[in-house]
Amino acid sequence: MKTLTIILTDGPYISEDAQIAYKVARAALKKYQVNIFLYLDAVYIPRMGQNPAFFADEGGLFADLASEGAVIRACSRCAAARGYTAEEDGSTPDYHDGMKITSLYDLPEMIARSDRVISL
């Protein structure tokens, strides 16, 4: 099965990037493996309890992707800088299930094993 990796750097709502990534990933999951790496402000996306007045809860949307098989990882340096701490297995109570905080070294691993990479 071919693999698509999506790299995000913007947080939720500041731009449409997370929404676009969600739509692309949702469609791709029907035929392909999908990896998503959350870098810089994108580590805010998986946070639980988001309640935007006029937008979809992007944390919930990404949780849906994870439950459908997408591998979603967040950069540990970026997450630590923004107050998120991870357990040894990469999970954090701040995030929806299925999304983990892991090493930045996961990024080149994901890229190296991908057939296509999109950075938004």
Binding site: K2, I7, T9, Y39, L40, D41, R77, C78, L104, Y105, L107, P108, E109, I111, A112, R113, S114, D115, V117, S119
Partner: protein, 116 residues
């Protein structure tokens, strides 16, 4: 397919945001896994300026990070330099000059292009 080469494109200035620092970190961890090129375009060319002093900003000197990773190829877009009144002689030693054609060629030949 496996990705054997990667081109990280930076078009924003160092220090004004986390983008340049983030790009350099991502490029650094890619070394050894694939061939890494950092392309400096637009305001990104300021990253390679000699003589940076970021102490008052309390952030790392980003040009020093370029020195730390000699395996990383760094190319600066010549037209962007000239548009900003900068010259190749003002850049750190490991930076290469690339005209429009050479810069595009480096991007096209990489297996993967990442814009941060």
């Amino acid at each position: 397919m496996t990705v054997g080469s990667i081109f990280y494109l930076l078009d924003s200035a160092p220090y004004g945001s986390e983008k340049a620092f983030g790009l350099l970190n991502a490029a650094a961890v890619s070394i050894g896994r694939m061939d890494v090129t950092v392309g400096l375009y637009g305001d990104g060319v300021y990253l390679a300026l000699k003589g940076q002093d970021s102490q008052l900003l309390a952030v790392p000197n980003l040009a020093d990070i370029l020195y730390a990773y000699g395996e990383m190829r760094v190319i600066a877009h010549e037209p962007s330099l000239l548009e900003r009144g900068l010259f190749f002689e003002g850049l750190v030693e490991m930076a290469e000059l690339a005209d429009e054609e050479a810069f595009l060629e480096a991007m096209v030949y990489a297996d993967c292009l990442i814009l941060l």
